[in-house]
């Protein structure tokens, strides 16, 4: 499988990374180089093999469904690039989403 410029633009859009036309050309070459190298996995017979999702084959632990921490407004907002403080509380601020 080989990526065309349109696919590179679509992936970049999905990944929310702005790319220029020059970058599309360069990325197309680099990504196709990596994908061509990855294609060698097709040589491996994997019929009937269970996919392994993690490094260790153990069930995920469950914990009690209780609140262990919270009420950390200031710590959470401490690194906000932009914030809004008003009568309702303190918030992360972003460009207007709903007209």
């Amino acid at each position: 499988m080989s990526l065309d410029p349109e696919t590179v633009r679509r992936i970049a859009d999905l990944a929310r990374i702005a790319v220029t036309e020059d970058e599309v050309a360069r990325l197309q070459g680099e990504l196709n180089g990596i994908l061509a190298w990855i294609e060698q996995l097709n040589e491996v017979a994997t019929e009937g093999v269970e996919p392994q999702t993690g490094a260790v084959r153990m069930p995920l632990r469950l914990r009690d469904d209780v609140v262990t921490e919270g009420d950390q407004h200031d710590a959470i907002l401490a690194n906000a690039p932009d914030r809004a403080d008003n009568a309702l509380g303190s918030f992360f601020a972003v460009p207007k989403v709903v007209e």
Partner: protein
């Protein structure tokens, strides 16, 4: 007494507890070395005031006879571990201005064990790289030089700052992380010892995530014993990490001198690559001979899916990274670039400006292999190959107790080399990446020099949660190798 910066952790611990050396003297010696050798660019942030405060507290405890296991030991912390109140960057512009309001579990354990925080070490951006040249804070210089060659060499990556700082004697030890070789490859390139423990041994909580099913923390130090001392303090169950293993932490240090009498050591034939340098092959053979002389039995084994480990990794790691790095959107922390459009424009502009070329490349690969229509062909396929790689090791453990391989296919290369094509750089991790995919412990021990006088490492891989055997074999290699070469640049 040798210079404070030349001490091992075990020696410093002894001198401190006998009050023959103060934590303050030890810390000041390392801070001044780090400042003097700042041209190596091993540290992104030096925390001198904090270090002196930690040292003063250690001296008080030492005076009261209440020393903890790492009391007064100055460490470097890879700048991927969140440290409360200390800028944490992941060597990326996208975390511009980020100061964590919390402490990673591993670093919290180190401070609770009495360690002194010297600062945050440089790395490849988001731990993605094998040369420490992708850092937004500039490349790290390897303190070693090739004989008759003045070019700066890479320290390896991604934990290049940690490895360079330990090798150049700017700290007694350092934390690091390893997703495909990021502890073991820089350790091999700098003549230091680095261990990636079993997946689940060290909590990932508070470590900036790259690929969550592969990431594992571990130490870099100058001796096997020091690595064992640090790993014990870093390990342990943590309910905050859902993949943390609830298993006891053994006294790793006690295992270092245990010897290899009666152990069966596997030498996998698939690790003998065509075109491998004579120096690496002879080092590997020498390593097997040392272990045989120490009483181990050497057996050739087969790990048939080895050649598929790297391409498998380069699907799984970018896929996980593309998901993990989705959080960097310019809204809650770090860099924001607002081009004046809508929220999507803010995301795209922030991420384009904040991520470097290698990180963007991996996010795009990961996004592609997870996208509709390609998931089965790439991601699911890679997960199945991963299962086969793990099965290779399961079968090997029926025959042998540990596996001996070279740590890297070459010694350190010059800055700027291997940059033409991403895949050439990826091949650095050919011997290390299998242990990440299978979740196994692996250590790199300096064992010799190549024809240019640069260090080479041997890797020992062990069964899950059997770091003790890994340390025992590494200890035997260290004793037999008698590696005492020193880097050209050091404190």
């Amino acid at each position: 007494m040798s210079k404070p910066t030349d001490l091992t952790i075990a020696e410093a611990r002894d001198l401190l507890s006998r009050r023959a050396l103060s934590a303050r003297e030890l810390t000041e010696a390392h801070l001044s070395a780090a400042e003097r050798l700042s041209s190596l660019n091993a540290f992104i942030t030096l925390t001198a005031e904090r270090a002196l405060r930690d040292a003063a507290r250690s001296d008080e405890r030492l005076a009261r006879g209440e020393a903890r296991p790492l009391e007064g030991i100055p460490l470097g912390i890879k700048d991927l571990f969140c440290t409360e109140g200390i800028r944490t960057t992941a060597a990326s512009r996208i975390l511009d201005g980020f100061t964590p309001p919390y402490e990673s579990t591993v670093t919290r354990k180190l401070w609770e064990a009495g360690a002194v925080c010297l600062g945050k070490t440089n790395l490849d951006e988001f731990a993605m790289g094998s040369s420490n040249t992708t850092s937004a804070f500039g490349h790290v210089v390897n303190p070693w030089r090739r004989r008759g060659d003045n070019r700066d060499l890479v320290p390896g990556g991604s934990s290049g700052g940690s490895a360079a700082a330990v090798a150049a004697r700017l700290c007694l030890g350092a934390t690091a992380t390893d997703t495909g070789g990021s502890i073991r490859q820089p350790a091999a390139f700098t003549g230091t010892v680095g261990i990636k423990p079993t997946y689940g041994r060290c909590s990932r909580w508070g470590i900036i995530a790259f690929a969550s099913s592969l990431d594992q923390a571990g130490p870099i130090a100058r001796t096997v014993r020091d690595a064992a001392i640090l790993l014990r303090a870093m390990s342990g169950f943590d309910p905050k990490d859902s993949t943390s293993a609830d298993v006891p932490v053994p006294d790793f240090e006690a295992a270092v001198g245990r010897g290899v009498q009666g152990l069966k050591i596997g030498v996998p034939k698939e690790y003998r690559l065509s075109g491998m340098s004579a120096a690496i092959i002879s080092l590997w053979e020498r390593g097997a001979a040392w272990l045989r002389e120490a009483g181990a039995e050497i057996r050739e084994i087969s790990l048939p899916h080895t050649k598929y480990a790297l391409p498998c990794y380069y699907i799984i790691a970018p896929a996980e990274a593309s998901s993990n790095l989705a959080r960097y959107d310019g809204v809650r922390f770090g860099l924001r670039v607002d081009p004046g459009g809508d929220l999507d424009d803010l995301y795209a502009a922030t991420r384009a400006a904040g991520f470097g070329a290698e990180v963007r490349r991996r996010i795009l690969i990961g996004t592609y292999v997870l996208s509709a229509g390609y998931y089965d062909a790439y991601y699911l396929k890679a997960q199945k190959v991963r299962a086969l790689i793990a099965r290779d090791f399961d079968r090997a453990w029926a025959e042998v107790d540990a596996i001996l391989t070279p740590a890297t296919p070459t010694s350190a290369f010059a800055i700027g080399e291997k940059q033409d094509d991403p895949v050439t750089m990826y091949l650095n991790d050919v011997f290390t990446v299998t242990a990440n995919l299978a979740g196994l412990p692996g250590i790199s021990v300096p064992a010799g020099l190549d024809e240019g006088g640069l260090p080479l490492g041997l890797q020992v891989i062990g069964r899950p949660f059997d770091e003790e055997t890994v340390f025992a074999v590494a200890g035997a290699i260290e004793r037999a190798a008698g590696f005492d070469a020193l880097p050209a640049v050091r404190a």
